[in-house]
C-alpha cells in the first residue's frame, strides 16, 4: 500500500490494531452484498457485489444504507 496523502500516515492508520469489522454476506435477488450488522436485525451495506452495473446505482442499495438482515 502506497499512500499519497497530505495527512501523516500515523494519523491515517490510528486505531488500525483495534479495528476488526465483522461482515456478513447477504443476497437479495441477483445482488450479493457485504453487510455490517448494526443490531435489531439490521445491517449497514458495506459493498455491493454484482456484475450488473445498474445495481450499483440502485438508491436503496447504496453503501451505507440500512437493510433488514431477514427479508
Amino acid at each position: 500500500m502506497l499512500m499519497y496523502t497530505i495527512l501523516p500516515i500515523e494519523e491515517v492508520l490510528e486505531g488500525w490494531d483495534e479495528f476488526e469489522p465483522q461482515y456478513v454476506e447477504l443476497r437479495r435477488g441477483n445482488i450479493t452484498m457485504l453487510v455490517e450488522p448494526t443490531g435489531f436485525g439490521q445491517g449497514r451495506i458495506v459493498r455491493i457485489i454484482s456484475s450488473d452495473a445498474a445495481s450499483h446505482l440502485e438508491p436503496r442499495l447504496q453503501p451505507g444504507c440500512l437493510i433488514n438482515l431477514v427479508p
Binding site: 499512500m3 497530505i6 455491493i48
Partner: protein, 245 residues
C-alpha cells in the same frame, strides 16, 4: 382522520415491498409527520460523484477516516457510462489524497469515459486528488480551494537499497505523467512545484490556492457550481451536436 393516517402507512409499507426507491419512503415519512413539503424530485441527466476524505485502496482504513472507496466508485462509473439516461458526470472533490493505485484507477476510469465530465475542487484536492481532478474533460477550482503538490513518501519498513528509491521514482513518474498528459502544466514545472522547499513547514512541495492552480496550468478555470454545471451542459450539447451531425 385516524383512518387516513393508517391508510397512508399501509401504502408506504406496500411501496417498500414493491421496491420503490428509499427517497420516496423518506418523502412519505416527512409528509406524514407534517413537515414542509420537500421539492419534487427531478429526473436529472447529470450524475454527481463526490470524492471526499481519504481515497481508500486495498486496505480498509480505520473508521476514524472518512473514505471514498474505489470499489464503489468504479462500478458506478461503469453504470453511468452505460446508462442511456445519464448524459454527463459532475465530480466534486474535497480530498486529502490516499492510495495511489485506487486514485489512479478512478482517474483512469473518468478519463476514458465517453460521456462528458467536469470536476470541481472545493476545499482541497491534494496529492492523489490531483490526477482525479485533471482526469475530467474540464476542471474547475473554487477561489478558496487548495491543491497541495508534494512528492510521494515511503512509509513503514523501508529496505535501504537503491532499488527502493528507483521504485519510488517510478511511482512518482506515473502520477506526474498522468497529470501532465491531462492538464496544461509542463513536466518540469510540476516537478519544480513538487520538490520546492520552503513552502510547506515539514515537507517539500507547494500549496496552490485557487487562482494559482489555474495559473500554473493544473486546473482549467476558476469557478463554482454554476460555472461547472454550465460547462457540463455545454459539453453535453457539443457531444449531441457532433453525434447528430
Amino acid at each position: 382522520m385516524h383512518r387516513t393516517l393508517n391508510e397512508g402507512q399501509a401504502t408506504g409499507a406496500q411501496r417498500m415491498e414493491q421496491g420503490e426507491p428509499m427517497v420516496n419512503q423518506t418523502f412519505e415519512a416527512m409528509r406524514q409527520l407534517g413537515q414542509l413539503a420537500p421539492p419534487a424530485p427531478v429526473e436529472s441527466n447529470i450524475h454527481c460523484l463526490t470524492i471526499v476524505g481519504q481515497i481508500e485502496g486495498h486496505v480498509v482504513l480505520p473508521p476514524k477516516n472518512k473514505t471514498t472507496k474505489y470499489e464503489h466508485v468504479i462500478p458506478q462509473l461503469v453504470a453511468i457510462e452505460q446508462s442511456p439516461m445519464i448524459e454527463g458526470v459532475l465530480i466534486i472533490l474535497n480530498t486529502v489524497g490516499g492510495d495511489i493505485e485506487a486514485g489512479l484507477a478512478i482517474a483512469e476510469m473518468i478519463r476514458t469515459m465517453s460521456k462528458p465530465s467536469v470536476s470541481l475542487v472545493l476545499g482541497g484536492g491534494h496529492s492523489i486528488g490531483i490526477p482525479i481532478a485533471v482526469a475530467a474533460r474540464y476542471s474547475f477550482i473554487s477561489d478558496t480551494s487548495t491543491v497541495t503538490v508534494h512528492p510521494i513518501r515511503l512509509t513503514g519498513m523501508v529496505i535501504g537499497v537503491p532499488q527502493t528509491y528507483e521504485y519510488l521514482d517510478k511511482m512518482q513518474d506515473r502520477v506526474i505523467r498522468f497529470i501532465v498528459s491531462n492538464s496544461n502544466i509542463a513536466d518540469e514545472k510540476l516537478r519544480e512545484l513538487m520538490f520546492r522547499t520552503g513552502e510547506l513547514v515539514r515537507d517539500v512541495g507547494t500549496v496552490l490556492v485557487g487562482k494559482e492552480a489555474v495559473e500554473v496550468g493544473l486546473m482549467d478555470e476558476l469557478g463554482g457550481l454554476a460555472q461547472a454545471m454550465e460547462k457540463l451542459n455545454a459539453l453535453i450539447d457539443e457531444k449531441k451536436a457532433s453525434e447528430g451531425g
